[in-house]
């Protein structure tokens, strides 16, 4: 199973050059090609980033040959109760069907658990452009609770860049985001929580 994101060295695509001459696999687009296509499927809740940029596609492989060839896409959920999970499975199947892959199986894998460390650099930039502060370093939030008054990481405003911001609520419009406000430009904004 190939589980590296496509940007990790040498896996960028050439649409036609990837087709091999092997008779049994000639009908199957290459794994690299599939990664590129998956990289065009937007996250249903934050459509400026793709499923690949979000880091939830953990593996892609072919099983079976010829007409029986089936594409297996392994996806890990962001949050246990994220309602987008089922939408994502449907979107992946639709996108693959549009590229001529009719047989797709979505496997859900819990381990290793998804972390915001897997967000790509491109994804982080796109989040910021979209008005969502990208996730910072992970911290032990239970410990930070007992260290009341200790300095907390500053979240820069994605609109004006000021670091004079405050936390409004640990939960924003989706489970993955917290709600912050900028004290400089006075705009509210979402912060993609490190997890």
């Amino acid at each position: 199973m190939v589980s590296l994101p496509p940007r990790d060295g040498g896996t960028s695509t050439g649409i036609t050059s990837d087709v091999t001459s092997d008779a049994t696999s000639s009908a199957r687009p290459s794994i690299e090609q599939v990664w590129a296509w998956l990289g065009e499927v937007p996250d249903p809740e934050i459509p400026v980033i793709s499923l690949v940029d979000l880091g939830i596609v953990r593996g892609v492989e072919w099983t079976g040959d010829g007409d029986e060839a089936t594409l297996v896409v392994r996806i890990t959920p962001t949050y246990s109760g994220c309602p987008a999970t089922q939408v994502i499975a449907g979107d992946v199947k639709d996108a693959m069907a549009a590229h001529g892959i009719p047989r797709v199986v979505i496997e859900t894998s819990l381990s290793p658990a998804w972390t915001t460390d897997w967000l790509s650099d491109v994804g982080r930039e796109r989040l910021r452009d979209y008005g969502i502060a990208p996730p910072g370093a992970r911290e032990d939030v239970l410990v930070s609770l007992t260290r009341r008054g200790a300095p907390v990481a500053t979240i820069a405003c994605p609109r004006c860049g000021s670091s004079r911001t405050r936390l409004v609520s640990e939960f924003g419009s989706t489970p993955c985001k917290a709600h912050h406000a900028c004290l400089e430009c006075l705009e509210p904004f979402d912060y993609f929580k490190p997890i």
């Binding site: 290793p112 658990a113 409004v168």
Partner: protein, 250 residues
Amino acid sequence: MSVVVESLLRLGDNGLILSHRLSEVVGKQPILEEELASANVALDLLGQSRLWLALAGEIEGEGRDADALAFFRDVRAFRNALLVEQPNGDFAFQVARQFFFDAWHHLVLRGLTRVTDHRVRDIATKASKEVAYHVRRSGDWVVRLGDGTDESHQRMQTAVNELWPYVDELFMDDETDVAAHAAGVGVLHAPLKAAWDTLVQDTLAAATLTVPPASKWPQRGGKQGRHGEHLGYVLADLQYLQRAYPGQSW
């Protein structure tokens, strides 16, 4: 029923019932931010519950999936602690219930990330990251309300006092807990009490609240299936659709 299944039902039912209680207050919260927070915490707990119940059904091997376990068991078959079925009072009451549970839940999940059964470990690892944010929110609200106005302080103290008798059950280990621990799928809860006490005492102190004395009549029995009258009403609401129209799906 095997101790493994029994132990997983306890985890799943806590999440399911508290999630339902939280969903009851969506649309009624004092501020918009808490509407979102309550709904999001409910969603996390429901998602986690689904994972635990699915695993319980799979190990049981009698063809029951998470939905069957959620919708087609009666009160006596539920294994949640009494704390989580307590009805929503005012906002301070919800905050106290949530904080007591979150602090315990996080410690339990952390313990479960180290058990030998990898399926339990995988779910716990994922859930513990989510629950860390639950503790931070509920602990923060305890302080904001306790160290707030005279009115909010008094309501927060009342809520803490009223829910205190339901805390002890969380840390009482029975034969199922001991066997689940030995089987590598569960943790012992009594050893977690010291860490819980520290977290709760620190938070109550920061909130200028008084830690109640040890409860003379601690309430228990939920995780053995002996519930208060409240759970029946929860299930009447939660299970209505599937009971009236079995097998309906979206």
